[in-house]
């Protein structure tokens, strides 16, 4: 048995299986969070019917999408129409291979990890372009065109901001980038006397554009192009596109967290007395507080089964809070907690954008990309290079 655990392929295979099996569920719950947070911002309730307070909505949605009629438009290019969402989804998942959840949980520790992610996310856009093209519909075609232009303009800015981070870390290897921040006792977002903050902002904007989220959601602008590139898609194929979108959000957020927000490190890694309140306090307060706050919600439910489901959820959260109070468990897993916590902050940010911003116009999008972000990125690389050299 020991040899099995020690086998170099054991960890990657197990993790791959976990991610492929679990991520669709996680994506479903990201959708639920998005709907709930948006609802909260828009003075409404969001999904409330399936499960207690809509908690089982993602499962119902997934089931509905699976059993929906499979429609392929007659005039579409069938093979490409079939393959495009698969390609999109494949590329989104490929990005997961090099994400370090903590110092030892990762599928592959590639020495050009960042390049792998930038490559897969670039190819992923091809799925959108092909899908829009193969649908043979005007709206889809326009969405695909927009997507192509958007990719070309924002990929450059994105890479420039990545370069800043790489210069600060001195490596492209994802775990080593975090370790560099550990050694320098600082998140890279605050490195170089705050100059890296500009790089971080450029990354944030370009990454939002890269994954087609508001205010850059032109390829699927629902008020203009109905649904953009996936107008003709329905059922499970559409679900694949959605899965790819949320996969991309996760990957992009992870890269941002690894490169700028210190990966799995806790906030203020240089202040040692914060270790106890941070590593124990935050997770326990988060899970315990959520459980405590949800208790009063049980009484409001009328249905017995829903009460039981919600109580199980509360018990689960309380159990996780207790686990984090156990030093052995805390020591082993608090880094993963911090990583996922930061990623969820990022996801929240994306939802917040969606609730607040109007949408850019196509040419304004190009202007922002070419006239602001790319020159800004170049200057940022230059400034960071000079300051970085001077500091050594």
């Amino acid at each position: 048995m020991d040899s099995l655990f020690a086998h170099p392929l054991f960890m990657p295979l197990v993790l791959t299986a976990i991610i492929i099996l679990l991520f669709p569920l996680v994506a479903g719950y990201i959708v639920l969070v998005e709907r709930k947070v948006l609802a909260d911002m828009q003075v409404r309730l969001g999904p409330m019917r399936v499960g207690p307070y809509g908690l089982l909505q993602p499962i119902a949605d997934a089931l509905k999408l699976l059993i929906k009629e499979d429609i392929i438009p007659t005039n579409s290019d069938k093979v490409i129409f079939w393959g495009a969402p698969v390609l999109s989804c494949f590329c989104a998942f490929s990005g997961f291979t090099v994400i370090p959840f903590n110092s030892w949980i990762h599928i592959a520790d590639v020495n050009v990890g960042l390049l792998v992610i930038s490559a897969t996310s670039a190819v992923g856009i091809l799925g959108i372009i092909l899908g829009g093209w193969a649908s043979n519909s005007h709206y889809s075609l326009l969405g695909a065109l927009r997507s192509a232009a958007q990719l070309v303009s924002y990929e450059v800015a994105l890479s420039l901001s990545l370069v800043c981070g790489v210069m600060a870390a001195g490596t492209l290897q994802m775990p080593l980038i975090v370790k560099a921040q550990e050694q320098q006792h600082i998140w890279f977002a605050f490195e170089n006397y705050g100059l890296m903050w500009i790089a971080f902002m450029i990354y944030l904007i370009a990454a939002t554009a890269e994954i087609n989220r508001t205010p850059f959601d032109l390829p699927e602008a629902e008020s203009e192009l109905v649904a953009g590139f996936h107008t003709e898609y329905s059922g499970f194929r559409w679900a694949l596109y959605m899965l790819a979108e949320y996969g991309n959000i996760f990957v992009v957020a992870s890269v941002g967290v690894v490169l700028f927000w210190g990966g799995w490190l806790r906030p203020f890694p240089n202040v040692s007395w914060l270790e106890l309140p941070m590593n124990y306090g935050v997770p326990i307060a988060l899970f315990g507080g959520s459980a405590w706050g949800s208790i009063r919600l049980v009484a409001r439910l009328k249905d017995r089964i829903q009460q039981i489901v919600l109580m199980a959820v509360i018990a689960g959260m309380a159990f996780v809070a207790l686990l984090f109070a156990w030093p052995a468990f805390n020591h082993a897993s608090v880094s993963v907690f911090w990583f996922l916590f930061k990623v969820s902050m990022w996801v929240y940010l994306m939802v917040w954008f969606r609730g607040t911003f109007p949408r850019f116009r196509y040419d304004q999008l190009m202007n922002v990309g070419w006239k602001v972000l790319i020159p800004g990125g170049m200057l940022c690389v230059l400034a960071n290079a000079i300051v970085g050299m001077a500091r050594q």
Binding site: Q42, S223, L225, Y362
Partner: protein
């Protein structure tokens, strides 16, 4: 039969210099999220640029104008609700005013004040739908929910007055359907207290947002002269700086007693139209406040026993009242022969009803001069040379209601 011989050119340069652009025809609507109802716009596109736009109306044609000829004068009021369903009280008013002009009827001051107040509330409600959907089209989706939250308060006010949220038919020939229910001041006052801060919230969200200003400033301008020629009215023409407002120019229903200013803007674009309508929120609030403060007492129906249903108590004691009641209910009332036109300032522009009577209990003809119909005419000129995203913003800024346009 002669065969046309096409000149064959082997010149490589001619092929390269020949501009080969194929235009794509995009059939936007009638089922499109941003055409607000069932407008169909045929777009000829070159890339994303609109070369030509042809609006195609008529998908919501209900035959309301013809239907009016089958009902008696008072019953037509219920149809006018359904013309511009977002500002139905203005439609009620325009129709009633033109029939009252034929009848040469004096409306008591209390009824006039209520009419003004309700029409202004209805203007706010209509502008709220416009702002919400316009912002949603441009991508600010939260605005939609905020605007509908306030509109809900307004619909509750309408329900309080008339028992109906949308199709109120509260304004009738001869005055109002009923006197206002007890406690109406409280519910209107509550709205007046909350709404100004909400308008500020909207402006906080939008005015300084560079994406919003980028999407609205400089989009869809048209010279004033051309606008006048096209018969465009309402906030659209006020956004060109022309203070064209029938409430000031030809005051009806006692608008001359109220102190308000006509909102104009010199921007003449989507941004200008937005500014004008945001200003009208505030002006309408002022008018409502004045109407509340100066609300006179007295009856809400004219002293015209042949037109207005008699009081229930009188019916039980007076012979004449019973006879009038029977006559009005069974056959309606006759309107003197003639024709009349009254135009009012609806939230969308000049809304006029042209009524013709042959002296019978039913109209011979009811024609509506609706603002949406005129305003849609500007679409091709506003959209030409713009991008698809702009076309959405422009359509939103026109604020048309297809029920109003097609009748």
């Amino acid at each position: 039969m002669s065969e046309t011989v096409l000149p064959v050119e082997n010149d490589i340069f001619s092929e390269a210099t020949e501009t080969r652009t194929r235009r794509m025809t995009l059939n936007m609507g009638p089922q499109h999220p941003s055409t607000h109802g069932v407008l169909r716009v045929l777009l000829e596109l070159e890339g994303e640029t609109i070369q030509n736009a042809i609006p195609d109306i008529g998908f919501l044609h209900t035959g309301i104008e013809k239907q009016c000829e089958a009902l008696n004068w008072q019953q037509v009021v219920t149809l006018t609700d359904r013309v511009d369903y977002l500002s139905n009280l203005n439609n009620n008013l325009a129709y009633c005013l033109s029939v009252e002009k034929l009848l040469q009827m004096e409306i008591p001051a209390r009824a006039q004040y209520f009419r003004v107040m309700l029409c202004e509330l209805s203007r706010i409600s209509s502008h709220l739908v416009w702002l919400g959907t316009h912002a949603l089209d441009i991508g600010a989706m939260s605005m939609f929910m905020y605007c509908f939250r306030e509109r809900e308060d307004l619909l509750k006010i309408f329900e309080y007055f008339s028992g109906q949220r949308l199709m109120t038919s509260y304004i009738r020939i001869g005055g109002l359907a009923l006197d206002a229910p007890r406690g109406w001041e409280r519910i209107v006052k509550k709205f007046l207290e909350t709404f100004p801060s909400r308008v500020e919230q909207y402006e906080d969200l939008l005015n300084n947002n560079p994406i919003w200003t980028g999407r609205t400033k400089g989009i869809g301008p048209l010279e004033v002269s051309r606008m006048i020629n096209l018969g465009i009215t309402g906030p659209l023409i006020r956004a060109c700086g022309l203070p064209h407002d029938l409430r000031k120019m030809e005051p009806y229903s006692g608008y001359d007693k109220f102190d308000f200013k006509v909102c104009t803007s010199t921007d003449n674009d989507v941004w200008g139209r937005y500014q004008v309508r945001m200003g009208e929120f505030r002006e309408s609030l002022k008018i409502i406040q004045q109407a509340m403060d100066g609300m006179p007492g007295g009856p809400v129906q004219a002293d015209a026993p042949k037109v207005v249903l008699p009081d229930r108590e009188k019916m039980k004691t007076q012979m004449e009242a019973l006879i009038y009641h029977f006559k009005i209910v069974t056959e309606g009332f006759a309107v003197p022969e003639g024709e009349a036109y009254v135009g009012i300032e609806s939230p969308r522009g000049e809304l006029g009803y042209f009524v013709v009577s042959d002296g019978s209990a039913k109209p011979l003809r009811v024609h509506m001069r609706t603002p949406s119909f005129g305003n849609i005419q500007a679409l091709p000129e506003l959209m030409e040379g713009r991008m698809i995203a702009d076309s959405i913003a422009i359509m939103g800024s026109l604020d048309f209601v297809l029920g109003d346009c097609d009748r």
